[in-house]
């Protein structure tokens, strides 16, 4: 047997490996596009939310003082919105709670 037999793949194996490589590369590109897509979408959603919040705030500030009779629904919505904000208001934000650590640690003689 010649060394070529060991160091070179048979033609059908080469074709199969090429196919595998192509498939793998396609998979990798799909993964990249999916990842970038998800990241872009999450970023866009965040930006939209922020824009929407800003718009809501602007609307609150620029809302006309004199309300028409048909605007009871709007008033109800305002009240509901205030209520929702009240519910979210808490004096216990867990991420802000100060860490409890051991103190008074001494080495006895």
């Amino acid at each position: 047997m010649s060394n070529e037999y060991y160091f070179h793949d048979a033609p059908e194996e080469v074709t199969s490996k090429k196919k595998m490589t192509r498939l793998f590369l396609i998979g990798v590109f799909v993964l990249i596009f999916a990842t970038v897509g998800v990241l872009v979408i999450s970023q866009v959603t965040r930006t939209n939310n922020t824009t929407q919040d800003t718009k809501e705030e602007e609307e609150e500030v620029t809302a006309p003082l004199h309300i028409q009779d048909s605007d009871i629904l709007q008033l109800e919505q305002d009240v509901a919105s205030s209520e929702a904000k009240l519910k979210n208001f808490s004096l216990e934000d867990l991420q802000l709670v100060f860490p409890f650590l051991d103190v008074d640690i001494l080495i006895e003689d």
């Binding site: 990842t35 809302a63 004199h66 904000k85 802000l96």
Partner: protein, 263 residues
Amino acid sequence: MRKLPIVFLLVMLLFFTFHTFVFAQSTTYTKYRSYVDQYRDTKESFELARTKHKNFQSLTTQTSLVQATVEFFGLRISILSAYLDVLQEKIDEEPALTQEEKDAQKKTIEEQKKLLDQHQQKIDALQRVEQINTVSKEFDELYKVISANSQLVRTHVYIGRATLLLQQLMSTTQKLEDKTNSLKEQGKNVNLLETWLSRIKEKTSAVDQSLKVAASTAIVTVNPDDTITNVQLASSQLRLAQENLGKISLFFKEFVQELKRVK
């Protein structure tokens, strides 16, 4: 085929780079949590080294104890430092605080971080068991100061949030008042509406007063115990404000019900 692992590695690298970039804001809290998670094990190692040294009093146990102490005390500093980073991040993101208020709180936090850095240097310089107690006592004082000042910063965040909420409620109250006046001009009986409105205004005024007292009380003092007392006084005002904010919400509902009836 040999290049595939390299390609795979590059893809993973790309993914983590994007991941870090997009989710960078939450890493501060993750870092803080990871330190907190290490705390129990590190403390146990220290206690074990302390017991061994107490029993054997050898040079080896002394070296182990000093090493364990440096790690344990260092971790306490890392936890506090990471906590201050989280607090800083929270303040940066806080819509309820003005830039001026943010800067003031940031300054307080930076001062605390400097104190922690200075104490870390003392921990790093630990070489003998006899030095441990001195460093430990200094930490106890520092912990008290940082705890008091951090609570103060938190209180300011809550005052800011409550103030923003109050402003929004006052805006809604103004709309309710306009509506009442409009109905009054049309000759409708608005007595009950005016009663609810008067109650809402009374509570709004009470909240405003509580927040002003809280803001003027929440100040730093030289003595951390006094700072804690200030924080407690401010917190009691905040709780009072929160209670009244809840009542305003109930009165709003009653107002709208009456408004529907009058219409």
